[in-house]
Amino acid sequence: MSKNPYQVIPATIYEIIEESPTIRTLRLRPERPIEFRTGQFVELTIPGIGEGPFTPSSSHYVKDVMDITIMKTGFVTEHVHKARVGDVVGLRGPYGTCYPLEKFKGRDVLIMGGGVGMAPTRSLFLTLLHDLDDYRSITFLAGARTPADMIYKYQIDEWRRIPKVKFLRSVDKVPEGESWDEEVCLVTKLLNKINIDPHDNPVVVCGPPVMMKFGTFDLLKYGYAPRDIYLSMEKKMYCGIGHCRHCVIGKYYACKDGPVFTYEVIKDEENIWE
């Protein structure tokens, strides 16, 4: 008999990193390693509360532990933010499609991550770094609302020292009392600060819906082809296995045909940005 797709693997929280006032990273040690490919997602259960789909933010080369970065946005995530070190949560997965790293080989890879959308793209970034020789260059454009909302600040210096890596950051605004000496603009406008040949090079976008939408339009204007724009349609998934139909985007399921889609594939479906 086939195995129950709802079976969860208990995982212990061994560390919590408070990334911003609303975002934290759970560092998890599952009872058995969960092998995933970067871009795929897992379902995380807070016992007795519920579950939600999240993309790991750690590299897929790291097997016995997993980082998941989560923003407080609703009922389940509120409880994620109440969790403490030592608590046990449930994980099932991985589900869905991954970033097609084979196609990225030998290319200039551009990554655009906004807000908590930096989480799945950090997983990609860290995975790419593992095989840095395989890629021509990696450019990461990171955006957040304010400096306080910017996540993974503690790793930025280390990342910027890596050859072939360019890491630009912007915030939408700098409230009084906060300081920021990098760009102040929408993350999509960072495109003006780089110089990549859009021809035949991949770009990965993940962030809030408006950012995905206008980011995609800006990338098209910049010269990227729809087939080279990879979108992570993150937030729609629910059961993770194509059994609840919640994440249907026209003829596609975000959970099975995605979450990683090229713009080429979904551009003609309705309401993709909502």
């Binding site: 259960t45 609703g74 139909r245 003829k251």
Partner: protein
């Protein structure tokens, strides 16, 4: 093969009473006491009178395989061996959709799969047609041609023609043979089968004359949105239509974990209610009623065909009977398919 009605009815009763064939439950349609036109599935016992040759029940066959609420993790996989007698062709088509959705190479719903495995289905041709029946408009027939274990066609008041459609059906037939007298069908009797079937088809054609609309369902998607707004006017979003549909399978999951073991329940959801597919932060995919109303039609006629190669509508007509807004599903389809088409789809 030919079997007498009284003998095979008695056989079904013995399956229930004596556990013949190892069946622990025999489920049949019976008439509602309040509204005799309505049929419901019920567990057979001495007091139940089975009604096999009429049209489909009020409750979809799906509900016997996909419960309104069921423990999907941390409970026992269902093990009851069941015999369902009197299922209809349209409902069988519904199960074909669910089979593709819930039992596939990637992921299997353990409860649905177990109920399917442990249940033998005897279909019976429709001799009567319900007022909302329209299987003929979706390429269906009022009799099953595949997917059943055993099928019965009434020849006259006394006899059924019987055919076998699966290995489970073979097993059941062997059992029936041991308990009843089965004879070979004569050419005359075979002719009667197709005559009776044609008679039912004709009733459907007459009933649904004028509602034909072709099969170019992309037109539903491309129709001017104003027609949808109009058609949805009396829809109150009660979700009756999705609950009663033979192919709807949307669910929500409830985490019921209290102790160490993880426990999850699934329950029916409805794309007609506003909270459907609400994501963290509160956004829903279709906040307006007419968008949700339209979604149900697109799901059945455009998305499910793309996903499964099968229409999501079996023509059972239950959504017409149940509708609080007195909306006639078949008329909506026709009206929308005949409405003005617009090119761009980003109009909602």
């Amino acid at each position: 093969m030919i079997v007498s009605k009284s003998e095979i009815h008695a056989f079904f009763k013995r399956c229930q009473a004596e556990g013949l064939g190892g069946f622990q439950q025999v489920i049949v349609p019976r008439r509602s006491m309040v509204q005799p036109r309505d049929l419901f599935f019920t567990a057979l016992n001495d007091k139940v009178e089975m009604v096999l040759e009429s049209y489909r029940t009020v409750d979809p066959l799906r509900a016997l395989f996909y419960f309104p609420r069921e423990r999907i993790l941390g409970g026992d996989v269902p093990k009851v061996k069941r015999l369902v007698v009197g299922a209809k062709a349209c409902d069988l088509r519904g199960l074909q959709v669910l089979d593709k959705a819930l039992i596939n190479a990637e992921f299997v719903d353990p409860c649905y799969a177990a109920w399917r495995r442990n249940t033998t289905i005897v279909t019976v041709d429709c001799a009567e047609i319900g007022v909302s029946c329209h299987c003929n408009l979706v390429g269906g027939k009022p009799y099953a041609e595949e997917g059943f274990d055993l099928n019965l066609t009434a020849l006259d008041v006394d006899y059924y023609h019987l055919s076998v459609g699966s290995a489970k059906g073979e097993e059941l037939l062997a059992l029936i043979q041991s308990a009843t007298t089965i004879t070979k069908a004569s050419p005359e009797e075979k002719r009667l089968v197709s005559e009776n079937r044609q008679a039912a088809v004709r009733k459907l054609q007459i009933q649904n004359a004028g509602l034909e609309r072709g099969e170019n369902y992309e037109r539903l998607k491309k129709a001017d949105i104003r027609i949808w707004i109009e058609e949805a006017q009396t829809c109150c979003g009660c979700g009756g239509c999705t609950n009663i549909c033979p192919t709807c399978y949307c669910i929500i999951l409830n985490d019921e974990t209290t102790g160490k073991e993880f426990i999850k329940d699934k329950s029916w959801d409805s794309c007609q209610v506003n909270g459907y597919a609400r994501v963290a932060g509160g956004a829903t995919p279709r906040p307006k009623m007419f968008e949700r109303f339209r979604n149900r039609y697109l799901c059945k006629f455009v998305n499910m065909p793309a996903n499964f190669g099968l229409l999501g509508c079996t023509g059972c007509g239950r959504c017409i009977d149940v509708c609080a807004g007195k909306i006639k599903f078949t008329e909506v389809i026709k009206n929308v398919m005949e409405a003005k088409q617009v090119q761009e789809t980003e109009h909602v």
